[in-house]
Amino acid sequence: MEPMPKQLKILNWLTIALVAAGLYLAIWYAPREAIMGEVQRVFYFHVAAGWVGALAFLVAALSGALFLIRRERRWDRVAMSSVEIGVVFTFINIVSGSIWARPIWNTWWTWDPRLVTATVMALVYLAYIMLRQSVDDPDRRARFAAVYSILGFISVPLTFLSIRIFRSIHPVVFGAGDALSSGMSSPRMQVAFFFSLLTFSFIYGTLLWHRLRLQHLSEKLEIQKMKMLSAEN
């Protein structure tokens, strides 16, 4: 079988290093938040996971559109891999947010705009996966998945806009508001936060590459299997 390309090996190590540094920054370097306490550190993982979920969704929609235009199978593979990663990170986002919410808002869940939008995004992802699993013909599967990812991608921000008209209790992190209600007063916190965004982006890229490689190898294996079966007959 094909060995792992050198760039991927380097990326692996780079990502591991970033994760280690990011953990240090989030858990030791960043100061303890005055009002919320240690639980605020969830923030460094929660937002980055949400960012990856959204990024993965965007990549899936763009790859879908590219597939419809160019009809090259690799765009479909990118879309599917991206959705698989994105759905996991969206769930990490939701669960970590819930863990943060319990001590701070005294509830595991609330129906404010961002949470609803995150849920809707997770549901669109799941629907995408179910759609793919339900179609046997590869070309049709790729076409339908592409169409759905485009519609889903347009729809989720519109849902957010619709609901956002009502006031949200979700913390507004940047900009307006006093330092008490916003969570990012200290520059050390900002360093940890942006670093976590960077780290998670690298995690996404690494996972995506691995998943694509896995898909490629699995398709090669299928072809080998077919060859052997037909050689036997």
Binding site: M130, V135, R140, R143, F144, V147, L151, I154, S155, I165
Partner: protein, 242 residues
């Protein structure tokens, strides 16, 4: 009961500008659906009975007493329409599959979006008919006045948006292994931007809020209708191609 068959030359070369031909194809598809429905009325009766049952279940599921009724009516109506709409969409898409009807339609030398609009208009008509029957019934059963012009406008706009996305999703769902069952799973998360303003606007009209405030929701609804219709008709050909 066939009309006299016209000669080949008349059929193969449609006369008139391409826009007129386009509109005639749309009209032909809408007429086909209406004619098919008039014969056995299966779809409308199924949607109607189902909608009534949903209203009945809501009576037990929610306390529709005089106090809560006003705040909850909008939600009950839209859930009813959404579920009944799913039935109609599935049935309408299945009709195309029956005896290769869609294959025949695909042979027509016209842009695929004509097929899309034909189906959407047909589906909207059927949904509106069901809604037109449910509204008076609900009014009578729960002693609520639902003949607020604003509410009727919202219902028309919301139904269009729902069907615009739903027709596309149903065309996809029917071609999968899971078939009908997949439609709600695909449709509901994606159609929320249409349902949410529809719900809010309906509620606002029923509770007689200021029209100025409601205009925001109506504008959103119109905008989303346009966005979804545009995207759906652009991608429809990828869903029905062989």
């Amino acid at each position: 009961m066939a009309k006299r068959v016209e000669s080949d030359s008349k059929i193969s070369k449609p006369r008139g500008s391409s826009l007129r031909v386009y509109l005639r194809v749309i009209g032909a598809i809408v007429w086909k659906d209406i004619a098919a429905e008039l014969r056995n009325r299966q779809m409308i009766s199924a949607m109607l009975v189902f909608a009534l049952l949903v209203v009945l279940i809501f009576n037990f599921a929610l306390e529709l007493d005089i106090v809560t009724r006003d705040s909850v009516t909008s939600g009950v109506l839209w859930v009813t329409f959404a579920f009944a709409g799913t039935l109609g969409l599935n049935r309408s898409a299945a009709m195309e599959e029956d005896r290769g009807c869609l294959d025949g339609l695909l042979l027509v030398p016209i842009d695929r979006s004509a097929l899309y609009f034909g189906k959407v208009i047909g589906n909207v008509l059927f949904l509106l008919i069901v809604e037109a029957i449910i509204l008076p019934l609900y009014s009578v059963l729960y002693n609520v006045n639902l003949f607020v012009p604003g509410l009727l406008l919202v219902i028309v706009l919301g139904s269009w948006g729902y069907v615009a996305v739903g027709t596309l999703m149903a065309a996809m769902a029917l071609q999968t292994r899971m078939r009908d069952v997949l439609l709600p799973i695909l449709l509901f998360p994606v159609v929320l931007p249409v349902l949410i303003p529809a719900l809010k606007a309906s509620n606002a009209f029923l509770q007689a809020f200021e029209v100025g405030d409601i205009m925001l929701w109506i504008n959103l609804l119109i905008a989303y209708d346009l966005i979804f219709t545009t995207i759906a008709f652009l991608v429809f050909e990828y869903v029905v191609e062989e």
